[in-house]
Each structure stands twice: as structure tokens, then as C-alpha cells.
Symmetry: C2
DNA sequence: TTACGGATTATGGTTTTCCGTAAAATACTG
DNA sequence: CAGTATTTTACGGAAAACCATAATCCGTAA
């Protein structure tokens, strides 16, 4: 079982609950913070003192404060922690249920577990901690397990996402072309942009551009 | 101080925290449920037994289960509770920070307090309960207090919202016209729809339709 | 009734997006 | 290096969206 745990969670009410879970599991050496920056500093300090944490439980979205912060989201925190301490176990604990984002957490950030905040998430969180502490298996809440199986045969490009973001910000296709040309982004012809949009619409079964942006927003892609 | 409280909150972890708050305030006669339907039934039963609740604390968004439910959101629950028991005090406790929605909760659903789930929401919730129990004042978390002041000089129509929803669902303007004609929705000419869209774009400072849908989605209007 | 104002509808022209075809450039392979 | 495949670019016509103007409808008040 884990010896030393750290929690990144902004909502104070939620914090109370998580701490109760750890106590139930007889883990008493834990710390928490509402700020990602804090958590990261604590983890770095712990390494330097030769007493590193062995589990991070992190929320994904964080409210902003008057306080200035460098790390604004759980995704970023997880990314940086993975670099800092590659062998640590990480659980993402979030209400986020968009397949796209969950998938990228497992594949890109190499998290060990994803627990969906929900009606019975306390039990799930306990299960996840158990499983991960005793093996190298991955844990994922059953409600969103399909996220990993789903074969996303269409690989979305960085440029695709740029286009979608610009569109949702009110930029016209012509303007996007101008921006791409002036910032040396490779495919920047009218046809290329049109073709990419057409493929995206095809893949997401969108009737038109408005629909496409609406869908990808809902999916958490932009 | 309130004698009998009921809580509608789906996230189990969050529930723990809220209950702790009530205990701190020495309120011990409280119930909670993860389902809006349950809460509503309990409240109706309590009235019939001549022991009605005097405070409802409700979340706004609820996860769905295998269970079939009639009331799917906190907004609906609050609406129905207001009809059932017009004099009860209601606090909305949510992460929702979209001005539009908060405003409509105060004006349409006549809530007594809105507490934003955040870094220090436990203290705020306590304050809100205190204030509301001893007076008829309204409570709103400082972070979102501006929602009520903001003068929304442009009154959005039911038709406006219908148009936006159809657009975000991938319906073209021509198709919307057809739908409006076949369902006898009053302004259903090309020009009328175009004019309304143009006004909306003007008001929301949107460059085009994609932008408009993106903005209104972000604001929680659709 | 008539005049007025607001909302809806009608019309026409411009811009933007959409979609197919084809040429050019680039990458990949033997 | 030639040959093939893939991607990017170019072009043009059709559809949809955008925008300004003018006509019509309709309720209200003089």
C-alpha cells in the first residue's frame, strides 16, 4: 500500500471527501493543496529530502484565484510530474468524461488510473488505489472504460486542432489562411484548409462548420 | 436557524463535505439524495406529514445512472420545489459560473442563495445558511456577484434560443425555416431569421455564426 | 378611419463557404 | 533514378450565408 500521498484538488468540499477515503484506507501520511504549483513544489522538495511521494491524486480542472499560478490545469501538472518523477503512480480524479481527453491522459501522460467523480466514486477510488498499489495494472472507471477501447481511426493533427480553435474564435477561413501564411504553418492554401475541414466534418458526422465546432467543443477537443 | 434540511447532490465525495458543514452548524436533521426525483418525493412526503423541510441545498448538474429519472437537473428540481412549497428557502450550490444561468436562477426560480463551489466554498456555504435563516436577504458568492449587476439590455427570446440550439445541432438556416413553418413558430421567414441572427451576433460581439454558437455555448445559454 | 411604429416578410446583390476536378509538389519505394 | 502514392495547391461553379433596402402586416392611438 502507498505510504505517502499527495492530492491536488481545488474544491474544499471535495477535499474533505478524498481525505476521508485515505483515512479509511489507513493512509495517514498525505498532503493536499488547492494549487497545482504548490503540489509540484512539494513533490520536488520531497524528492530532494529523499522522501518522495509514491502516489499523486489529481483533479483536472482548477478554479483560478487572485493568486498567480504557472500550472493551471491537472493535465499540465500530471505532465510535469511525470517528467520530474517518472516512476510515481498517478490517479486522475475528475468529472471529465470526454473520451478524447481521458485517452490522451493514458497515452500521453501515462497515468495509472482514471476515476470518474460520480455517484459511487468513493468506492471506485478505493479500488483504484488498491489495484495500483499492488500491481502495474491500469484502473479506469467502468462508465468511461469505452474511452480506451474506441478505435479512433482518424488521427487528428495539430493543424486540425488549430483550425478548429480559430474557427470557434470567430476567425474566417480566409483569415486563418493569412495567419497560417504569416506564421509559417505548412499547409496554408485555401484548398488544403477546405479539405481538412471536409475530412473533419466527415469523421465527426457534422453537417456543417457550425455543427463541427459544436461537436468538438462538446467532446473537449477544443 | 434551520431545523430540517435536504440536500440534492450527486457526487458522493461532495456529499461528505456538505454534511460536515451542516454538522458544524449543529444541524443534525438533514437528508440527502443523489437523485432529484428522490429529493422531490421526500419533500412532498414531508409536507403531507406536516413536517416540511425548511431548506433545500441543491447542486445544478446531475450525472445520469442506469436509473430512469424524471427530473434531470437542479434547475428543474428547484423550479418544481418552488411550486410545491413556495416559502421554502433554496440555496444552489454549484460550480456553474455562467452569469446567464445564475441570473435566471435568482429571477425565474427565486432562489435565496447561490454558493459557488470553489476554494473556500465551505465558509461561504456557512455564511449563506446563516444569512438566509435569519433574514430574507439573498446570498451570492462574491466571485459571481457581478452576474446580478450586469445589465443585460438585450432580452433574448425563446425563438432566439431555439435558433441557436438548432444551429449548434447542425441545422442549416433554410432547414430551420422549414421546421418553423411546419411547427407554426411565428417568425419563419428567411429575413426574420437572418435579422435575429444578426442582432444576436451584434449583441454577443460575434464575427460569424460559428463564433456566435461557440460563445453562447460557453456562456451556458445553449 | 387614418396615421404611425414595430415586427415580419420579400427581394436582390455580395461575400463566404462548399465541393469537385485537376495540376503541381513532395514523399515513399524498389 | 524512375515510378507510384500522398499531400498540397489551383481553379471554377454551386450553395449557403450575409447584408442592405423596401414592401407588407398588424396593433394602437389620434
Amino acid at each position: 500500500m502507498f505510504k505517502k500521498v499527495i492530492i491536488a484538488e481545488d474544491l474544499d468540499t471535495m477535499n474533505l471527501g478524498i481525505q476521508q477515503v485515505l483515512k479509511d484506507l489507513e493512509i495517514f501520511d498525505f498532503q493536499h493543496s488547492k494549487y497545482c504549483d504548490d503540489v509540484f513544489l512539494k513533490m520536488r522538495a520531497a524528492i530532494h529530502q529523499n522522501e518522495p511521494y509514491d502516489l499523486l491524486i489529481s483533479d483536472l480542472s482548477f478554479k483560478t484565484d487572485h493568486r498567480e499560478v504557472k500550472i493551471t490545469s491537472g493535465d499540465e501538472l500530471i505532465q510535469k510530474v511525470r517528467e520530474l518523477q517518472p516512476d510515481i503512480k498517478i490517479i486522475a480524479y475528475s468529472v471529465e468524461d470526454k473520451n478524447y481527453r481521458i485517452k490522451s491522459l493514458f497515452y500521453d501522460a501515462q497515468i495509472d488510473g482514471f476515476v470518474l467523480k460520480g455517484l459511487n466514486s468513493i468506492e471506485e477510488l478505493k479500488k483504484a488505489i488498491h489495484l495500483i498499489s499492488t500491481s502495474d495494472q491500469k484502473f479506469i472507471s467502468p462508465e468511461v472504460a469505452s474511452a480506451l477501447q474506441e478505435k479512433n481511426n482518424y488521427e487528428m493533427d495539430d493543424v486540425d486542432i488549430k483550425i478548429l480553435k480559430y474557427l470557434s474564435a470567430g476567425t474566417s477561413q480566409d483569415e486563418i489562411i493569412e495567419i497560417f501564411k504569416s506564421t509559417d504553418i505548412k499547409p496554408n492554401s485555401k484548398s488544403a484548409i477546405e479539405k481538412r475541414l471536409s475530412k473533419l466534418k466527415d469523421f465527426f458526422k457534422a453537417n456543417n462548420t457550425v455543427h463541427l465546432v459544436s461537436i468538438t467543443k462538446d467532446m473537449g477537443i477544443i
